[in-house]
């Protein structure tokens, strides 16, 4: 290869790198500004409602990372949000709006619960059974979540039904049906609450680093491992390439022999599988039984915000999940220490999503203040 050609090549590479960096940088800036702006609006609303805004912000931070038990709670929420966030990111990246992660999460957790409750009596009642039992639960959760994700995928592909609406309907249906089954068949005789029996004691993840009954560093490990697998598949394999191109360049994908319909169903299946796995983690690590899904945290919805903040990039889901886990933990802390209703944080998360949806807003603000004007 001649020197000139090499020179051109490396120049092109450098330009490409630069553009990539600029857009990554821009996304990070937009994410940070959107979060700061939303928190600012939250603080103003807190002040306008007659609470102390400074105390609100400082308590928010303390609630997230103030001491070891707060930190454990934050990491627990973050683990769930990273896992569900990756589920959303897989679908959004492929151009499929899977709003049904919450339902797939509920169904996955329920399948895991059924596996544990029905298989436990068949195995020796000791910790030897823990690993096979949890492996079975995880497999069932993957299958159930995947199937519940594939359903709206098929409705979209074969009947043209808009997946935003079908997945939202399926969320309602999942919670209703699971509640009905729990209430009618799995509630122990005479129990007041619609909860299943407790799982055997040996089912659960050991705390290891943190002394929390509902958080294990292994849970965070499962979430990070899932991110790594998804990242590698999407960035380093032909399948991942087809997935992303069928979302953004349908004609190109078709031309290269990819069947976009099949890709949509596959995408939804994978997304649902990850959501189902999150359900298993929730049942095993956090609850230790299963309960009325209408009372569950809405990880599947907050995950949409996590994924969008990360620009649907699997690696970006990690910092975004940590941030939202912190907001969630902080929000619950202010809920019971300051009497500021914790729903406020849900509203702030909504504002972040709104701002992230409108990057033009920040570009315009950047031009107006001549900050970052060099990007134009």
């Amino acid at each position: 290869m001649s020197d000139a050609a090499t020179g051109v090549r490396s120049l092109a590479d450098r330009i490409a790198d630069h553009m990539l960096d600029a857009s990554v940088l821009e996304r990070v800036v937009i994410a940070l500004v959107a979060t700061a702006l939303a928190l600012l609006i939250g603080a103003v609303i807190v002040a306008a409602s007659g609470y102390d805004a400074v105390e609100f912000v400082s308590s928010l931070v303390y609630g997230a990372v103030g001491n070891a038990s707060n930190l454990a709670f934050m990491l627990r929420q973050s683990s769930m949000l990273i896992l569900t966030g990756v589920a959303v990111a897989v679908a959004f990246r492929a151009g499929v709006f899977n709003i049904g992660v919450q339902g797939q999460f509920v169904v996955g957790g329920f399948a895991a619960t059924l596996g544990i409750l029905f298989a436990a009596p068949l195995l020796p009642n000791s910790s030897i059974s823990a690993v096979p039992l949890m492996a079975l639960a995880a497999l069932l959760a993957l299958a159930a979540g995947g199937a519940y994700g594939a359903l709206p995928g098929m409705m979209k592909v074969y009947a043209g039904a808009n997946e935003v609406i079908t997945t939202i309907m399926l969320n309602f249906i999942a919670s209703g049906v699971v509640y009905f089954l729990l209430d009618a068949y799995l509630r122990p005789e005479g129990a007041a609450a619609p909860n299943t029996e407790q799982f055997p004691d040996y089912v659960g993840l050991p705390g290891l680093v943190f002394e929390s009954p509902s958080f294990s560093i292994l849970g965070l490990g499962v979430a990070l491992l899932t991110v790594a697998v998804v990242y590698l598949v999407m960035d380093r394999t032909g399948f991942g390439y087809d997935l992303v191109t069928s979302g953004y360049q349908e004609p190109a994908a078709k031309y290269s022999g990819v069947d976009p319909k099949r890709m949509i169903v596959r995408t939804m299946t994978i997304s649902g599988m990850i959501a189902g796995l999150a359900g298993a983690l929730f049942a095993i690590m956090i609850l230790g039984y299963y309960s009325d899904p209408n009372t569950f945290p809405t990880f599947g919805f907050d995950a949409i915000a996590v994924s969008l903040l990360a620009a649907n990039n699997p690696l970006g889901v990690i910092p975004a999940g940590l941030l939202f886990g912190g907001l969630d933990a902080g929000g619950q802390y202010i809920g019971f220490t300051l009497d500021v209703p914790s729903e406020l944080v849900d509203g702030v998360i909504g504002l972040i999503v709104l701002f992230v949806a409108a990057p033009e807003l920040f570009r315009a603000a950047g031009r107006y203040t001549s900050l970052g004007g060099d990007r134009e």
Binding site: I165, M169, N294, F301
Partner: protein, 351 residues
């Protein structure tokens, strides 16, 4: 795109929706049930009431989408409407003794507040070209957060105390008509008003110049621009209209026919904004068909009571799912509807 085609589409839609309604009623009548007890005047009355909030939001959403903007935030606007309605009525009366005048004033306040919120939303969508699906979802999340938050600030809990609602109005002579009199002229005026709105929305959309602008903004914005009409102005108007209508639909839930704001779970709106979107898709963007579809979903919502009266007792957790299942059946069965060609695309003039 031609008028002829639209009319054919319209007729097909109306036949489809009416056919579905008749089919449901016929099914209920003949599935070995004491059917005459299932379809009663009382049942129709409840279905009409349940259809009202859905139809209002759906007609608003229909206009926005016809003009090329997918307002997926209807659910969120309904939550805000439900909250603001209850809050204003409560604040105006100073807590107790809410009168009919307070309630009607609250409806006006809901229209104003929803209009302001929808204007902000429209600026984000149209001027700053926000992703319509994501921004619409955000409105829902914001409603889910700030709705119960505001309720807690006002009432100390996520729900309001029990509030009165709009009284039924009895029109002297017309109320005497059998069946129809009881359904429309001795009922909540909101039911009749909504039907009037649906008819007016049909006339405006298909029979006035402004309606053609709305359609053109969604089908062929370039042509509309060439004709000297500001496309984005039309879209601002329809998005704001959709927010106001959804807000009013929410207020109907909390103070129109309901008894206050409920903020637990996904709030009292409980997916009706999403159902509204399906109602206008099922109605193929025809306001009258949309009303019919809303009535179908309203009837599904009220089926539980009917089933109980004929002695079929299903748990509430299952009967509560009928509307959602109906939505899925409709979406899969009707499936493809012809979406206006420029939906989701922002429009920039070439100047």
């Amino acid at each position: 795109m031609s008028t002829a085609r639209t009319l054919v589409d319209d007729r097909r839609t109306l036949v489809g929706v009416l056919g579905a309604l008749v089919a449901v009623i016929a099914l209920l009548l003949f599935v070995d049930l004491p059917g005459s007890d299932l379809v009663t005047v009382g049942a129709l009355e409840r279905a009409l009431q349940a259809a009202t909030p859905i139809a209002l939001a759906a007609i608003g959403g229909l206009y926005a989408e016809k003009s090329g903007v997918f307002n997926i935030g209807l659910e969120g606007f309904m939550i805000f409407g439900a909250l603001v309605g209850a809050a204003v009525a409560w604040l105006l009366a100073g807590g107790d003794g809410i009168t009919q005048a307070h309630l009607w004033a609250a409806f006006v306040a809901v229209a104003l507040v929803s209009g302001v919120l929808a204007t902000l939303f429209a600026v984000l969508l149209i001027r700053y070209e926000a992703n319509q699906i994501v921004a619409g979802l955000a409105v829902w999340f914001i409603g889910l957060g700030f709705g119960p938050f505001a309720a807690t600030v006002l009432w100390g809990g996520v729900s309001s105390p029990s509030l009165p609602n709009i009284d039924a109005v009895s029109v002297p002579v017309l109320a005497e008509i059998p069946v129809l009199g009881r359904l429309f002229f001795d009922a909540s005026p909101l039911v009749l008003l909504t039907i009037v709105v649906a008819v007016a929305a049909w006339v405006v959309l298909f029979r006035t110049r402004y309606g053609y602008w709305v359609q053109a903004a969604g089908e062929n914005p370039e042509a509309l621009d060439t004709a000297g009409v500001d496309v984005n102005r039309v879209r601002y108007a329809t998005v704001i209209f959709s927010g106001v209508m959804a807000g009013l639909g929410g207020a109907v839930l909390s103070i129109g026919i309901g008894s206050g704001f409920t903020g637990t779970g996904v709030t009292m709106v409980d997916g009706r904004g999403w159902i509204a979107i399906v109602a206008y898709l099922f109605g193929n963007y025809n306001p009258l068909g949309t009303y019919g579809a809303s009535l179908l979903f309203g009837a599904m919502d009220m089926l539980q009571i009917q089933l109980q009266t004929i002695g079929i007792s299903l748990p509430g957790s299952i009967t509560g799912l009928f509307p959602y299942v109906a939505v899925l059946v409709v979406l899969v069965g009707v499936g493809y509807t012809r979406v206006p060609s420029a939906v989701g695309e922002s429009y920039d003039t070439e100047e």
